[in-house]
């Protein structure tokens, strides 16, 4: 299966076309095709994973490459590169996608574009898997853009409302702004590595110093712009919360578990380039780590002021993506990748859980929830598992991966990032406590009678709760399987990532901080231990809240830029077009017309016509036909042709 890993993206691609053309005629409107395809893809991914694990150590990546086309003496190819990271992603993507497919049969039941929705999910999964198996940056970029397309289609799924299509456009344009960097970065590295798109080759060249440091830094910075767009890093994170306008299963699959980690995956995949380009080994503060750290904090803070449950989770996702990027920025490669792995499960679980709530309450707002613990027990328990895992409480998944990131930051000499990580852990635990309180505690504040969701939605929650709870144990001390299976290795370069051990004091500290976060938030909400309305009375807090509510005014800034381009600048350019450029042309035309008129009146009518008139009498009949065609304009052509001939003659004299 490792050699035939290309089958895994191909299956959902075929499924996309099948659903598109035959879906509506199927008894279940096409969803059965999608589920069957994803089931098959998941099985194949698991087989691939088993084969990878079963390989004798040291495991060598499987590489297959075919020529796609030749141009300019370069072989543009497509191929697969399968190693531990790839296999891990294949399993995660197909598993989450399968869960989301099953869940959607319930959630999207009766939607007017049900079939289309499943087609888009299949296309998305295929594109994402293609991105994952890509052995070269060009192919990776193609998958990257295609997932962007699917994201657009699915965010704007209910495009009748302008808000939704607006959010879709915002997402597409924001990520595409980052993609300018991605494209230029890929081009820079293509030439730097001797006209080669091959990822392994790029890593090798970067790590062995074959590419000059300056070029590498430029290339890495440009690529990272793309990462910031796709993985919603500050300040390009603004699209992700808006993307919640899409149906909730989409938020779970695309905007939490898979597509948004494409940027993290890219950094992990081309780690040689980033590691050397940003001099991560030197322990200096670098761009990647800083952006990651800023993102962790600013997004976590925003999660506190949201009423929409999906937006809490969205900002939480941004914040957790910040953790992953920060981990990669401090040289803790396997910690970052491991966090990607665990986060996918518990965040997908949380989103699907929120979907279950929304499905039942018919509102996204937590202010219209409350007291749902008894009414929706499955949703409640699974949501709590997800929240605890996210908060990083022992022994659930988030604990292990977050702890590794903190350890990496401390061991590799990034004390600042360690502080950020711990602060982030505190905030994460606190805002999730707030959310759980608002949703499940107290009395029901909404309308209607909430009830537990149907089995097609409840079962994916139960299933996802298992890895959300247990996935972290893969890398628990004494087990450490994840490290062993998913390793970053470039043939021909000695390993530069050191495996690190478990550190009890640090783990204890991070756990304590998370518990403290829960405690403070619980004290605030459950026990009223703090005076209420603090932010009303204390001016500093009030200002702080206002800034948070306005999302640091970043959206306003970007909107101002876009408006500035669309209105003054575009309008000015168009004015210039109509009045200056066109004015010149029209002026020339009028001038020609005027001189033609002059020539016509003075020479033609008085001199020549006098002669012709006599002969013209007999030709009058034929002339009347011609006159129909011949307006005054023919004189203009004549004038121009005449002028051209004159220029001609002068030119000939001049040149010969």
């Amino acid at each position: 299966m490792l050699h035939n890993a290309w089958l895994i993206p191909l299956i959902p691609a075929v499924s996309f076309f099948l659903i598109l053309f035959f879906g509506k005629r199927m008894p279940k409107k096409g969803c059965e095709i999608g589920i069957a395809a994803l089931g098959l893809a998941f099985v194949l991914a698991v087989v691939a994973a088993a084969q990878w694990i079963g390989k004798a150590e040291p495991r060598e990546a499987v590489h297959a490459h075919h020529t796609w086309f030749n141009m300019g003496g370069i072989d543009f190819g497509f191929g697969i590169h399968v190693d531990g990271l790839t296999v891990m992603m294949l399993v995660v993507v197909t598993f989450i996608s399968l869960m989301v497919h099953i869940y959607s049969t319930g959630y999207m039941h009766g939607d007017r574009r049900f079939t289309y929705f499943f087609a888009a999910l299949s296309l998305f999964t295929s594109a994402m898997l293609m991105l994952v198996v890509a052995d070269n940056t060009l192919q990776l970029m193609i998958g990257w853009e295609l997932v962007g397309l699917c994201s657009f289609m699915l965010i704007g799924h209910w495009w009748e409302e302008g808000v939704n299509s607006g959010a879709a456009i915002k997402a597409f344009i924001t990520t595409r702004t980052g993609d300018v960097g991605l494209m230029l970065g890929i081009i820079t590295l293509f030439f730097a590595a001797g006209r080669n798109f091959d990822i392994e080759h790029l890593n090798h060249e970067a790590l062995t110093g074959a590419i000059g440091h300056g070029t590498l830094l430029v290339g890495a910075c440009l690529l990272f712009l793309g990462v910031m767009g796709k993985s919603a890093q500050f300040p390009l994170h603004v699209w992700l919360p808006d993307a919640m306008a899409g149906p909730t299963p989409v938020s779970a699959l695309i905007h939490a578990a898979t597509m948004v980690v494409a940027g993290v995956y890219l950094v992990a995949r081309l780690y040689g380039v980033f590691f050397t380009g940003f001099s991560i080994q030197a322990g200096g503060v670098n761009f990647v780590a800083i952006i990651g750290a800023i993102t962790v904090l600013i997004a976590a803070a925003l999660a506190f002021v949201q009423d929409d449950v999906k937006k809490v989770l969205a900002y939480s996702t941004v914040s957790q993506l910040g953790y992953m990027i920060m981990a990669l920025g401090v040289g803790a490669w396997s910690a970052g990748v491991f966090h990607l792995f665990t986060h996918a499960f518990f965040k997908a679980l949380l989103f699907l859980g929120s979907g279950s709530l929304i499905h039942s309450v018919h509102s996204n707002n937590m202010s219209e929830m409350g007291g749902l613990r008894k009414k929706m027990p499955t949703t409640f328990w699974t949501f709590i598992v997800g929240s605890v895992a996210l908060a990083g409480i022992f022994p659930l998944a988030g604990f292990w991966s977050k702890d590794e990131i903190l350890l990496g930051a401390s061991k590799n000499g990034y004390p600042l990032m360690l502080v950020v990580g711990i602060l982030g852990a505190f905030m994460t635990a606190a805002y999730m406590t707030r959310a759980c309180y608002l949703i499940f505690a107290g009395e029901y504040r909404g309308h209607g009678h909430p009830h537990e969701s149907p089995p097609s939605m409840a079962w994916p929650l139960r299933i996802l709760a298992v890895p959300a709870a247990l996935a972290g144990l893969l890398n628990a001390p004494g087990i450490g399987l994840f490290h062993k299976w998913v390793d970053f290795e470039v043939p021909g370069v000695p390993p530069f990532l050191h495996e690190h051990s478990f550190n009890v004091p640090l783990a204890g500290a991070s756990l304590a901080v998370a518990v403290l976060g829960i405690g403070v938030a619980a004290g605030y909400y459950f026990r009223n231990a703090f005076p209420l309305g603090l932010s009303e009375r204390v001016p500093i807090l009030k200002t702080g809240e206002r800034i948070l509510v306005h999302k640091y005014y970043l959206d306003d800034l970007f909107l101002a830029i876009v408006r500035g381009i669309q209105y003054p600048i575009a309008k000015a350019a168009y004015w210039f077009n109509q009045h200056v450029l066109d004015g010149v042309i029209n002026g020339v035309g009028k001038g020609a017309q005027a001189s033609a008129q002059l020539v016509y009146e003075v020479i033609d009518q008085r001199v020549i016509d006098g002669v012709v008139n006599g002969a013209g009498m007999s030709a009058e009949e034929g002339g009347s036909i011609l006159r129909h065609v011949q307006s005054g304009r023919v004189q203009q052509y004549a004038a121009v042709l005449f002028g051209a001939a004159a220029v001609f003659a002068i030119g000939l004299v001049f040149l010969t």
Binding site: F69, G72, F152, W159, E160, L184, I187, L641, A644, L652
Partner: protein, 505 residues
């Protein structure tokens, strides 16, 4: 055989002229037959073409023509002309199909179709000509039918637009023929393009620069490049749908083709001096065209401005004088022909249904005519350069090529161009999605709530399916075009390379 491909349409036009005007069905059938036959000839050319030697002129014919000035009837096609020739044939055929039951006012299918056939001969001939005078004749032959198409069948402001189109292009042509004559006298008294290329570079640098300037004006107006583009939005806005399609899909390519076929290989030395300026105008065009799009209220005019931006990518590729760049340019021409041609078809169909193209009045197309809306979405994404569809392969390699332009060109300058062009892709996404949102998304506007809007019908399907398939197919298998162009492009760039190595010594 190539001669047949070039002249069959004009012979057909003569036949059409003999059919009485009242027998409309017969006229339409004859036109369909002729364009289909031409396309079949084109396809057989495609199959008989020797791809292993795509740089060589094939299907050549070389006879005496105007002996006094040593101008010969010399035609032939290589890997660069072939895809464009086929594009021209297919587009004309599809336009005949599309027009089947909606001829624009004042109707008169006979005259309309005759003009279209004459136009096709002009276009095909331009792509096949290997003699400068012959090239010029075909290049000019295109003007008149298009002038009448816009001027007679066009929108309310058609007279102005038609005149502007005609005169502007003619002005460029005048300078172009001047340069042709200069080449004749300086290049050994011949108009033969391959002969001129073979002895290329022997003309003194200063003279080359001047001659190139004349050619530049002729071709740049036709492309059109900023700031010579102002005829284009007017012509497109006023032209009937089919006229816009042919204009965008084929006519704009004549200028770019002229650069690749004539200006650069014959005057490689001057090309190098001009390249940074061409590149500059190209990237200005990319951003400027996009800004123009954002300022529009009329859907068709928006698409017209997007052509300025797209041609900017093509010209940037050409300006790098590299193999990547020129391959991308030829691919970009074909892709733009398919995609923008489709967008104009759709704009025409929307106007036919809603009797307006004003973005503010449209909305909810996906509800009233879902298939049409879907096709619009598909084409918008193709146009913004989504990988997997044809537009990407014109855009990405062009940007790629600017990283490392031909030897002797300033790397820094072209890298700045590269960055600007890449930013242009964001703008492209901006205006296309904005248009898509206005037209296709949202709810039905009250004024059209009760209007009967029919979805895509049979002639539209027939005319569009090949284009849509082409967009998808070339996107997935770019090889289909690159394997034609690559060798031929190699010859063009090697002529440039020869100059740089000579200069290096």
């Amino acid at each position: 055989m190539l001669t047949v491909a070039v002249f069959l349409p004009i012979v057909g036009a003569a036949v059409l002229a003999l059919i009485p005007r009242s027998r409309e069905e017969m006229i339409k059938a004859a036109a369909l037959l002729i364009t289909a036959a031409t396309t079949i000839v084109g396809i057989s050319l495609l199959f008989g073409f020797d791809y292993s030697d795509a740089g060589r002129l094939q299907y050549s014919a070389n006879h005496g023509w105007i002996d006094v000035i040593n101008s010969r009837y010399h035609i032939g096609i290589d890997g660069i002309s072939l895809p464009l020739l086929i594009l021209s044939m297919v587009i004309t055929l599809l336009c005949v199909i599309y027009s089947w039951d909606h001829f624009p006012e004042p109707h008169n299918p006979k005259a309309f179709l005759i003009l279209m056939l004459v136009l096709e001969t002009g276009m095909n001939g331009t792509f096949a000509a290997q003699d400068l005078i012959l090239f010029f004749v075909f290049f000019e032959l295109v003007l008149l039918p298009m002038y009448f198409m816009i001027g007679v069948w066009g929108g309310p402001n058609r007279q102005y637009a038609a005149i502007k189109f005609f005169l502007y292009t003619l002005f460029g042509s005048a300078l172009m023929i001047l340069s042709f004559l200069a080449l004749y006298f300086k290049g050994g008294q011949t108009f033969d393009i391959p002969l001129l290329i073979a002895q290329g570079g022997t003309i003194a640098h200063g003279t080359q620069l001047l001659i190139f300037g004349g050619l530049f004006m002729g071709f740049a107006i036709k492309v059109p490049m900023f700031p010579f583009h102002t005829w284009l939005p007017d012509a497109h806005t006023e032209a009937p749908t089919v006229g816009s399609v042919i204009l965008a899909a084929v006519l704009l390519k004549l200028g770019c083709y002229g650069f690749i076929r004539i200006a650069i290989p014959i005057l490689p030395d001057a090309a190098k001096s001009w390249a940074p300026w061409i590149g500059l105008l190209a990237v200005i065009g990319i951003i400027y065209g996009a800004l123009g799009c954002l300022a529009q209220r009329d859907m068709k005019r928006l698409i017209a401005f997007s052509s300025v931006a797209h041609m900017g990518f093509v010209m940037l590729g050409i300006a790098t004088l590299t193999s990547f760049g020129i391959n991308a340019a030829v691919f970009g021409m074909v892709a733009h022909g398919l995609i923008t041609g489709m967008l104009f078809f759709i704009a025409g169909s929307i106007q036919e249904r809603f009797h307006t193209r004003e973005l503010a009045r449209l909305g909810g197309l996906l509800l009233q005519a879902p298939r049409l809306g879907w096709i619009l979405g598909f084409c918008a994404f193709a146009s913004l350069g989504l990988p997997g569809l044809a537009g990407f392969w014109g855009e990405f390699p062009a940007i790629l090529s600017a990283y490392q332009p031909a030897a002797g060109l300033s790397q820094l300058t072209f890298r700045v161009y590269m960055a600007v062009a890449a930013i242009g892709t964001v703008f492209a996404a901006g205006y296309l999605l904005w248009m898509l949102q206005r037209v296709a998304f949202g709810t039905i506007k009250t004024e059209f709530e009760n209007a009967h809007i029919h979805d895509v019908h049979i002639p539209e399907y027939l005319a569009w399916t090949p284009l849509l398939l082409g967009i998808l197919l070339f996107g997935i298998f770019p090889h289909l075009i690159f394997h034609m162009t690559d060798q031929a492009v190699g010859l063009v760039t090697s002529s440039v390379g020869a100059v740089s190595s000579a200069a290096g010594r």
